[in-house]
């Protein structure tokens, strides 16, 4: 219940935060909403000697447009994502996903940046970002860079983010108007991590799938971008045999942990079921 002792820092700018993280190295951790990190610290599974609280950095908040991208500040909370009618209109997948993360209290403080940067395979936003082909704006001691979500995740708690880097914004190319979308999450109870979840974004034309993108949550060490399954579906009318093939392709890339959610065999099957249901809902929402 009691964390190890640490020194607390509250920088006022990204520059200051990066400077601190650079200086502290392995001895420093960024603190966003805190609802992944602080519970781990209380169990003493993580005991950073320094916390760099990003809450005082105004430039990490806000939603703006940048040509065809929507750029969301990393410290935007799940509550703010849900409350944004603009985002609900342009990228409705975000609100549907956010509402399935944790509970109201956690959503008031939990941030988008924290959820995508944590590296916990149970986090929901990473697969959604891979599905949307989002990229992450990152600032470190060597300057700024942009990392595609599809290239960001390396393993459990292992991401492309360096120790001196701060993820400052999430950049999402605006999905086409009339796109279909769904985040279908199987869980033991509301707010739980996914037994398996599927994020789908697709466009239809003349009754056929014109484009399709699929992300899978918590069925491997990292979130998965089910590229092969999406390819199989593209050009099809979402008929039963094609869906069956796509589901098989999605199942084939999973390697879930056996845990209280169920044995690996079951979770793989559930990835497939969630995908099928997500496709069905996405199709019903698509216009085209």
């Amino acid at each position: 219940m009691i964390t190890a002792a640490f020194t607390y820092h509250r920088p006022k700018s990204v520059q200051e935060a990066v400077a601190l993280l650079t200086e502290l190295g392995e001895n420093g951790r960024a603190l966003a909403g805190g609802h992944s990190l602080i519970p781990m610290m209380k169990l003493r599974l993580a005991s950073p000697g320094n916390l760099v609280d990003l809450a005082g950095i105004g430039e990490l908040k806000g939603v703006r447009a940048d040509s065809n991208d929507i750029v969301i500040g990393a410290m935007t909370t799940q509550y703010e994502l849900i409350a944004s009618n603009h985002l609900a209109d342009k990228i409705p997948l975000l609100r549907e996903t956010s509402l399935q993360i944790a509970d109201p209290q956690v959503r008031y403080l939990g941030t988008l940046g924290g959820n995508v940067a944590n590296g916990d395979p149970g986090n929901d936003m990473p697969a959604v970002m891979m599905c949307l082909d989002a990229s992450y704006d990152v600032t470190g001691k060597s300057g700024q860079r942009r990392i595609a979500a599809r290239e960001f995740y390396q393993g459990v708690y292992l991401t492309a983010l360096e120790a001196d880097e701060v993820l400052t914004a999430v950049r999402i190319p605006m999905p086409a108007a009339g796109h279909g979308w769904a985040y279908e999450k199987l869980k033991r109870k509301v707010g739980d991590y996914a037994t398996a979840a599927a994020a789908v974004v697709l466009t239809m034309k003349g009754g056929k799938i014109e484009s399709c993108s699929i992300g899978l949550t918590n069925v491997a060490d990292t979130p998965l971008w089910a590229q092969e399954a999406a390819k199989i579906l593209t050009g099809s009318a979402l008929d039963a045999p094609t869906i069956k093939k796509a589901v098989a392709a999605a199942e084939a890339i999973t390697s879930p942990a056996s845990d209280a959610h169920g044995p690996a065999q079951y979770r793989t099957k559930m990835a497939g079921v969630m995908l099928a249901r997500a496709l069905d809902r996405a199709k019903s929402r698509a216009r085209g």
Binding site: I2, D103, K189, V190, T195, A260, G262, Y266, K269, V273
Partner: protein, 806 residues
């Protein structure tokens, strides 16, 4: 008397006595955050204790190095088994007649077992010091499978009992064996089975679960060196038992121990027994001369305090081909973990498990229970039930469904055919229990009509056809359970805990101006005693419930009692309350007779007054009599108006109920939606219908959790994998179904107010109702028994096994 004189009914209503939905007294402080729970207790100079725990499920402890911890600034003491040995407290007796290590004595026997106790000036220093204690472990082979505990070569858990061929409950047949206990008539049962038309046999497992109240276990121990007195605040469902047992093991005289159980944040059986944390805090206070607070966190609570259930029941039922049961046999292996810390009445190592013949008229029955040791946390306790009644009820209700299925009979009709009939009460079961009262057929009929059972079965038939045609992937299940509980422990000839007889008490003192105070030996942890006992008194004595203060939990002032668990408060202390009231009323009647100058027999009681028979304008209210009892006492009579009653119940009470639920199972994910849950309960006289309904809602929610996903799970290496809220399934408001409650009222003939108790009925009946529903969903495909919990993956696996995913 005139038009403005209130009628009897109006006067009665104003009293807020039995039967009314009196709003709760305790709410006023709770809704303002002004409860007084143990962690709210702050004393000057108070220290904080924290425990070092074993990461291993079974290991020798070769060395404990406390130097670094002791040197940490703020650390005042570090206690190990060696320290405790100097005061003979390294081991403590359990309530089941076993002994239990307080701190690791050369060995640890389950993961997270207590190894050392650190005492420091702050929580932070204590937590840091815990990290600095270095322990050398030598891991040993682990066994967490109770079915393997008595095999040759199974790891020996209790080396301290190595040479003991008998224990507290008789002979031991293996080094991991604790007790064998049997009841019923084996020969008669065997004979019935030998000639039966139809028999079924099934292994019914009730997994290990944990009561998990929202407040964990905690205490503050304060030993006053000058007076030689110990004051102990704690989460104690049975404060007097803690005091007596505490005195016996610590040798501090009982009158110098003050135990205070303040507000308790839920108990459900978890807070009956004594835990190492309490003992360590007491010793630490003695050693340091300062108060010591010990609180556990949730993982500690779930993984080391008393679990519940963990019964493997191999059950058989014999019946005639037209569906009359003729015999019942059950062989059970009970997993008690590393120490038998079961909170049962001592003569009953398997509690009241022999209620397993349930609500049915079994002519013959036999059960045998073997308790075994494994490398798991010690226990178990009665998680919102009377001792082992949930296990028994689950077993018989599942088994009745299984044999109904074998016979091709509807589960409700099969039950109706075999329920004990009204004319048979008081009914003596094949196990010798005398059920006090019941009208089972009426209750089941009412339940079935209320849910339109016939229509549900028709709907299910249609849905099954639709499933077979591939039109739906949902299976509809209808669960039926008809339970009888045995609660209100208990008659002292049958019930004692370590020799402490299980009566209970009420002491009532009425003040001169007509209000009063009632103190009892029970201890509410949310059941609303401050509200309900006053209602009994209001009805008995004609004083407004609002005028009666109810107190529990302080052993200096409360009369001796055995506490609250096993639904015993209403049956035992509720009876004591009524009996004490009647003594007061008798004295009041004499005073009234004197004041009205009539004979005692010339008076009759009318709601709140004694009035002269045939002359109702001449009366004395209880309020007037209270004053008189002090200040206008009849000559020769002692002043005062109070009484105490210690009630030794003549029998247990037997609440019962009929529950029916409807579920829809999604075959492709294993998810179950509860469409409807109807619960009819009969608890005899109903004291506060609002509180009864609240108890049913809460108990059904716990039952839902148990049936649908709770388990305390150990892997083969002895790691407990479900010890936090990340994994231990506690439903939120979103998953929890809507509950419909109903009732019948069959008063208990032997209870002074006819009340039976109800708090635990919903857990007893709820679990089998849910489990029967899910089993029923798959039954038409040939499935006979799917084990609990019915979480998504297990339900899916059942569907997979039946070939439903092809």
């Amino acid at each position: 008397m005139n038009d403005i004189t209130p009628t009897s009914a109006e006067r009665a209503a104003k009293l807020e006595g039995m039967g009314c939905k009196r709003k709760r007294v305790e709410d006023i402080r709770f809704v303002q955050g002004k409860g007084n729970y143990v962690d709210d207790v702050k004393l000057p100079g108070m220290l904080y204790g924290d425990l070092v725990r074993s990461p291993h499920g079974h290991a020798r402890v070769k060395k404990i190095d406390t130097t670094k911890a002791a040197a940490l600034p703020g650390v005042v003491a570090v206690i190990t088994a060696e320290t405790l040995k100097t005061v003979n407290l390294a081991w403590m007796p359990t309530l089941a007649g076993d002994t239990q290590m307080v701190l690791a004595d050369g060995k640890v026997l389950f993961q997270n077992q207590e190894v050392a106790f650190v005492v420091a000036e702050s929580r932070e220093a204590a937590a840091d010091a815990v990290e600095l204690i270095e322990v050398d472990y030598e891991p040993l082979p682990v066994n967490v499978d109770p079915l393997k505990a008595m095999t040759d070569g199974a790891p020996m858990i209790r080396e301290d009992l190595k040479d003991k061929t008998s224990g507290a409950h008789g002979k031991r047949k293996h080094y991991n064996h604790i007790f064998s206990w049997q009841a019923g008539d084996k020969a008669a049962a065997d004979a019935a089975f030998a000639k039966a038309d139809v028999t079924i046999k099934e292994m019914i497992i009730y997994p290990r679960v944990h009561p998990c109240p929202l407040e964990t276990c905690q205490c503050v121990a304060s030993f006053d060196k000058i007076k030689g007195e110990l004051t102990l605040w704690g989460t104690f469902q049975a404060p007097h038992v803690i005091r007596t047992v505490g005195s016996l093991i610590s040798k501090i005289p009982e009158h110098k121990i003050h135990v205070i159980a303040p507000d308790i944040g839920g108990g459900f059986g978890n807070k009956v027994g004594a835990y190492p944390g309490y003992i360590c805090a007491i010793v630490a206070s003695i050693v340091t001369g300062r108060p010591v607070k010990w609180t556990e966190d949730r993982i500690e609570n779930l993984s080391t305090t008393a679990f519940a259930r963990d019964f493997y029941m191999d059950v058989e039922i014999a019946a005639t081909k037209d569906g009359r049961v003729t015999g019942l046999r059950c062989y059970t292996i009970a997993d008690h973990g590393a120490f038998d810390a079961c909170a049962n009445a001592t003569k009953w190592p398997a509690g009241l498990f022999s209620i397993i013949s349930g609500s049915y008229d079994f002519p013959t029955a036999y059960c045998l229970v073997d308790g075994v040791y494994t490398n798991k946390a010690p226990g178990g306790v009665a998680y919102r039930c009377s001792f082992r009644v949930t296990e028994a009820a689950y077993c018989i209700e599942r088994a009745m469904d299984i044999i109904a299925q074998r016979l091709g009979m509807d589960p409700a009709e099969f039950r109706m055919k075999n329920l004990i009939r009204r004319e048979q009460f008081p009914y003596t079961s094949a196990f010798g229990w005398q059920y006090d009262s019941g009208d089972y057929q009426t209750a089941l009929k009412k339940a079935m009509e209320s849910v339109d059972y016939k229509k549900l079965r028709e709907e299910q038939k249609a849905k099954r056809e639709a499933f077979k045609r591939g039109e739906t992937r949902e299976l509809m299940g209808i669960g039926v359970a008809f339970f009888t509980e045995i609660v209100g422990a208990g008659p002292s000839r049958a019930c004692d805990i370590l020799g402490i007889a299980m009566f209970d008490s009420a002491e009532i003192r009425i003040h001169p101006t007509g209000s009063g105070i009632c103190r009892l030996g029970t201890k509410s942890q949310g059941q609303g005693h401050e509200t309900t006992y006053a209602q009994i008194i209001a009805t008995e004595l004609g004083l407004p419930a609002d005028s009666i203060t109810v107190e529990e939990g302080n052993t200096d002032t409360a009369p001796y009692g055995l506490g609250t668990y096993g639904s015993r408060s209403t049956p035992v202390s509720g009876a004591a309350t009524a009996m004490a009231c009647r003594k007061i009323k008798a004295k009041a009647q004499m005073i009234a007779a004197y004041m009205l100058e009539v004979h005692d027999d010339d008076l009759e009681w009318d709601v709140d007054r004694f009035r002269v028979k045939g002359n109702p304008e001449r009366f004395k209210t209880m309020t007037e009599l209270a004053w008189a009892a002090y200040h206008e006492v009849p000559p020769g009579m002692e002043p005062g108006l109070e009484a105490i009653n210690y009630y030794d119940p003549p029998n247990f009470t037997y609440p019962f109920g009929a529950y029916i639920c409807v579920v829809d199972v999604d075959v492709d994910t294993g998810q179950t939606k509860v469409r409807r849950f109807y619960a009819l309960d009969d608890c005899g006289t109903r004291i506060n219908p609002m509180i009864i309904e609240g108890q049913i809602h809460g108990g059904l929610t716990e039952a839902f959790g148990i049936a649908m996903g709770q388990e305390i799970h150990y892997d083969a290496e002895g790691n407990v994998t479900t010890a936090s809220f990340m994994d231990y399934f506690l439903p939120t408001a979103v998953e929890t179904p809507h509950w419909e409650t109903d009732w019948t009222t069959t008063p208990s003939p032997h209870h002074p107010i006819g009340a039976k108790g109800v708090g635990e009925s919903p857990n007893v009946g709820g679990v089998p109702c849910f489990s029967n529903a899910i089993n029923d969903a798959f039954a038409f495909l040939g499935s006979t028994h799917i084990q609990m919990p019915h979480d998504h993956w297990r339900t899916w696996m059942a569907a997979e096994k039946l070939g439903l995913h092809a």
